[in-house]
Assembly symmetry: C2
Homo-oligomer: 396 residues x 2
């Protein structure tokens, strides 16, 4: 049977995270789940706020079945879009309205739709800043873009502007950013965003066409120590925001998020129409209707983020005391740790021998580092620290 | 701003059905909604069975939030897939198991994923049988396939086998079928399916590669007069089934369906892996989790189909008595009517002057005919019949 080799390759590819997950299950069966310290999976471990399930029940009770489970318009329920706009305006001092939004089946859909809208296939280039979520390359490939990667700034996990500047050329259509960042937990500072905006403004002028920031923001609300995440559209008008409620409301399986095309964007109507067209082409008819109505009513609320914050503090202080180096964990629920040897995979293997399951930074475009997802039971973190000490000592 | 011209075209294209819908709303404001006879929209008008909402509430009550709203595996919740398999086995005498299924965000996703898996871009051809759901051409285009159309068999709304045979060539990858059919309401007979299977078996041999049937079956359970819909995989092993619960359970907005790759399919594992890869590439991470679990528990149930059947009888007998010609409405909730003049659009316009909103068959690849969606209030049908009489008489 002839199939698409690209799709077969993607479907049969070895996933390091999934293999680690399977290993963890197998090992748990041998030594007990309480003796495995699985930092591999970035799934929210905190329940959704009660308002989510309460709103579901209320909608089922008060709205007719054919309405609550019926198609919305392709761009999403108008009331939900307006509520999302007003919540952002209240929190970020923006001026959005419902027609800036296209509700999607989560951030993955938001990204494939935005890339589909922007990219001229087999012609354009898309740039991401390492380290980045590995699926960006897959999504860019789906749109027919050439995917380029700015090497990581392992000092501060901000953006190496010189490297980015050197990479932008006449074919650059978009630069993908992700802050708070998976896998580093870093948040791009206002200074970084200003520099990025200045660079892209200059390069857009140089090459005679707008270069778009594609801002992937599923972790926008997961920040600590009172840190503010700069809202990118306020710094650079040619920004498309891709959002998901997966993390903020602990709804990863429900596939609900949005594409935001601000009015300030050059040729807003053309871009928004292309977003609608890409959604149609890819087979996203409308986002799940019940969940659209739910997020319309609870948007701006979050799961209990103090729980992640507590984990973060315990893990970071414990690792620091042992002597590990890591990026400052400012947001999301990841800590990015410097491997204790040059061979990242070998370091992960040695960690495994202590029943510590860590994800290599290689697939994120950042060898020499490993990701710890600390959305795990707090007790697990506490119990794992002596093993991190043993791992550390094994390199002395 | 440079955008993808294809996506911009798709997003800004005039939609005849949507324009008709908007016209209906405007006209309803002028003359009252009760005086507009809107047969344009194919949305289920019958509520979901109570078990749907009851199951949602039960799941929220009994399962932890992070589980019920969490990611399932990419191919879907294992229990749900197994339940779907067992229900089909019970009803159709098949032998499916969970690993034949990939749960999707509705039938549109099932189609774009299946086409993405099968099609070698810029090389392969996909054939559909007119009349067909207009988005097939969009979905085939998304996969990079050339889209060909077998002219309609307006005598029986089965398949013109000679025309199909003449169209199959070395580049043919798949033949898309849809029975019960949108827009005709016809059901392909067992004889038709046997002929199709024989033809594709012969042509697969002739061209040295398997030609796949892509069977789009959202209306599978909506059939009347005790008619049996042949289950295609039993007649032709190289069949991929695309299903949606949109119509059977009246859940169009919830985006839940599946791709079925039977064991009998040549290179099953390769095809299934390509399906997984296409889902990943397009940005379908997993189907909405709560709804996966719901359909796993209620699969095989349906909304009250007798309601559509009653509408069908009233409409068909009324139109027949007036003197209209139409295809035999055997399934789905559509009746396909012969226009009373050669210019289909002019016929629809004249119908509009009687406040009868009908959809031209042109966009379905079948000029000279119009679609009536009878998933509407029964009273509306009864009240519309005198106007159909006036429309008919206006052509005398």
């Amino acid at each position: 049977m002839i199939v698409s080799e690209r799709m077969y390759g993607l479907g049969s590819a070895r996933s390091a995270i999934r293999e680690l997950f399977e290993y963890g299950k197998k090992r748990a069966a041998e030594v007990g789940a309480e003796n495995i310290y699985d930092y591999s999976i970035g799934n929210p471990a905190v329940p959704s706020p009660d308002s989510v399930n309460e709103t579901i029940v209320e909608l089922l009770r008060t709205e007719p079945s054919v309405q609550v489970h019926g198609y919305t318009s392709a761009q999403g329920d108008a009331d939900a879009r307006q509520a999302i706009a007003e919540d952002l305006n209240r929190r970020f001092g923006t001026h959005f309205h419902k027609d800036n939004f296209y509700i999607t089946c989560g951030a993955a859909a938001a990204l494939t739709i935005s890339l589909g809208a922007l990219v001229v296939p087999e012609c354009d280039e898309v740039i991401a800043i390492a380290p980045f979520f590995a699926e960006y390359a897959v999504f860019a490939g789906n749109a027919g873009a050439k995917f380029l990667m700015v090497p990581p700034d392992t000092k501060n996990f901000q953006i190496d502007m010189d490297a980015l500047a050197g990479m932008i050329g006449p074919k650059t259509r978009a630069v993908m950013i992700n802050s708070p960042n998976n896998p580093t937990g870093a948040v791009y500072s206002e200074e970084t965003i200003k520099q990025l905006a200045a660079l892209l403004t200059e390069k857009s002028r140089e090459f005679g066409h707008a270069i778009v920031i594609l801002s992937d923001e599923p972790y926008r609300e997961l920040v600590y120590d009172g840190l503010k995440v700069p809202f990118i559209t306020k710094y650079y008008p040619n920004t498309i925001v891709c959002y998901s409620y997966s993390k903020s409301l602990s709804l990863p399986g429900e596939r609900i998020g949005y594409v935001l095309v601000p009015d300030e964007m050059e040729d807003h109507d053309r871009v928004y129409a292309a977003v609608c067209g890409a959604g149609r082409s890819l087979g996203f008819v409308c986002a799940p209707s019940l969940m659209q109505k739910v997020v319309g009513r609870v948007t701006g609320q979050t799961s209990d983020i103090s729980w992640y914050d507590n984990n973060r503090r315990i893990l970071a202080s414990g690792l620091k005391e042992i002597g590990y180096e890591f990026g400052e964990p400012q947001g999301a629920f990841y800590l990015f740790l410097k491997a204790l040897e040059d061979d990242t995979e070998a370091f992960c293997e040695r960690a495994k021998s202590f029943d510590l399951l860590l994800v290599s930074g290689v697939s994120f475009g950042c060898p020499g580092w490993v990701r710890l997802a600390y959305c795990v039971p707090t007790e697990m973190i506490k119990k794992s620290l002596p093993l991190f000490k043993k791992l550390y000592d094994s390199y002395k």
